[in-house]
Amino acid sequence: MPVFDLAEQPLRALNAALHASGGDNGRFEVLNPRGAHSVAVGVEHPCEIEVMGPVGYYCGGMNEAGEITVRGSAGPGLAENMMGGRVVVEGDASQYAGATGHGGLLVIRGSAASRCGISLKGLDIVVGGSIGHMSAFMAQSGRMVVLGDAGEALGDSIYEARIYVRGTVKSLGTDCIEKPMRDEHRAEVADLLEAAGIAADPADFRRYGSARKLYHFDVDHADAY
């Protein structure tokens, strides 16, 4: 298994090796990340990457097929614009985790800071702890499952993404409303929890989504902007 020690080797060598891995389902270990930015970004082919420590900005950014595990916490923009594969963070994640993600699964076992899932475009996010304010802002599609609490203005200006929260929601953002949990939603939560390897009862979650009142310009809604 190739081992990259970022205390000794440049980041560029790591990412170049990951890009050149050629879909051989290889395994990579990254030592001493020490908060480095852009660790394992743009991973195009299936491979497993284990990062042994905390990372800085944009770890797993634009991941397409990698299975990335961070044995530590992650800085801002974790797995931003992720397209597929899986990114798992054992600690906490800073702001904008999963921003604009298009596909795959992002698991944060700890908590995520503000703007988790901002402009979400199809990615699924499961957060073991809580999420900060303005999470799922303008979230277009995809799903978020939060076992803890959500901060202020959850789902502000949300489109068609679905949000499930087990704990409390401090406040809902503009055009975001609570919606009834039906069987298909409980099944969806159960599937996502299983995929994330987290045990919880889907019946404990509440669902939030778009009221769809801001989809068209309407002067009567001007006060909402």
């Binding site: 980041l11 560029r12 990412n15 170049a16 890009h19 930015h37 852009s38 970004v41 743009g42 195009e44 800085g56 900005y57 944009y58 950014g61 634009m62 397409e64 801002p76 923009g77 931003e80 614009n81 397209m83 904008y96 921003a99 604009t100 298009h102 703007r115 901002i118 402009s119 475009k121 199809g122 802002f137 303008m138 277009q140 599609s141 489109y159 068609e160 989809y215 068209h216 310009f217 002067v219 001007a222």
Partner: protein, 441 residues
Amino acid sequence: MDRTPRTHPRKSASFDDYTLSEIRRAAATGIYDIRGGGAKRAVPHFDDLLFLGASVSRYPLEGYRERCATDVVLGDRFASKPIHLKIPITIAGMSFGSLSGQAKEALGRGASAAGTSTTTGDGGMTEEERGHSDLLVYQYLPSRYGMNPRDLRRADAIEIVIGQGAKPGGGGMLLGQKISPRVAGMRDLPEGIDQRSACRHPDWTGPDDLEIKIGELREITDWRTPIYVKVGGSRPYYDVALAVKSGADVVVLDGMQGGTAATQEVFIEHVGLPTLACIRPAVQALQDLGMHRKVQLVVSGGIRNGADVAKALALGADAVSIGTAALVALGDNDPRWADDYADLGTVPGAYDDWHEGRDPAGITTQDPALAARLDPAAAGRRLANYLKVMTLEAQTIARACGKSRLSNLEPEDLCALTLEAAAMARVPLAGTDWIPGRGGF
């Protein structure tokens, strides 16, 4: 009958016909006016500058015999594969969604035939434009619509869009009439909604973050691809300095005459700086950092002919970019569609309701029947012709100034016709050696 002399009916300069019509429109609808294009108001511009030409102390080059080079390299600061353009005129970012697929293809065809680049927009990369563009710049916008690493890797350059001249501080807008199934699919949005893009990037804030973001994009593309930063004309000295500090290879600076697909009229006309006012502060920032000609400056907003190109380059730009003019070359606002424009309540030359998707010329539309009016091959040919004419015009002026390269043009070749232009362009008022703001005045 009262024969007392009466004054001639006089309309107010402040409340002119347009203003009155806008008040009536606002009163009737309760919502601001939305339109495409750039600022229509008169602002100091390149027309207020003149070249001095050769004289006893300056030798001209022979117009038809001596070479005047036009090529330019963009992005050689950090990228291992910089862009080499045959002409210093590029096609600005315009989205599929705001434009039809045929229009995007035509832009690619025209730019490629002329040896220059074209640019995607707020909607992702289409096969039409990638397939027909030898050099394609992929915009990285706050919305990240259609953003994906596959297209990032097949882009010839990446342009991080922070703002545009028509609306510095504003996000994109595409109204429901143009959110067709294909456009909706590319943007992950429901069909037919009024789409309002974010104005801030979702995963970074400020120049320190931008530096890290640029680093990420370089890592994803293995440091091959040039990275541009595009800003609207706002605080050009500081914006350019911060873009350079953040690691940009190229800075694109768009003045308020630069067009947009759709935004509020009040935004277009009342926010931002004229292009002429942007260039010298931007160049000053590059010079102060010792980065002029190392980080290239691309200027856009109201470029119409070879004289504008030459003037922008003389003031210190490395290249220019055109959007509105390119659309006109394709056929936008063409008098041949006068009857159709009349049906829309306008006239050729004034049509700017691009957001409604009913463009008679078939350019700013997603309506298949209208879009079919534009032949991409013929429109591309017109654009290529236009680009070549602009280049020939700029060469004509440069040779008259004794320059063997367009990029050798310099402020010393210019004078200004107005005080305002002299102050903004930092060149002397014609017939004087006075540059307002210099020398204690």
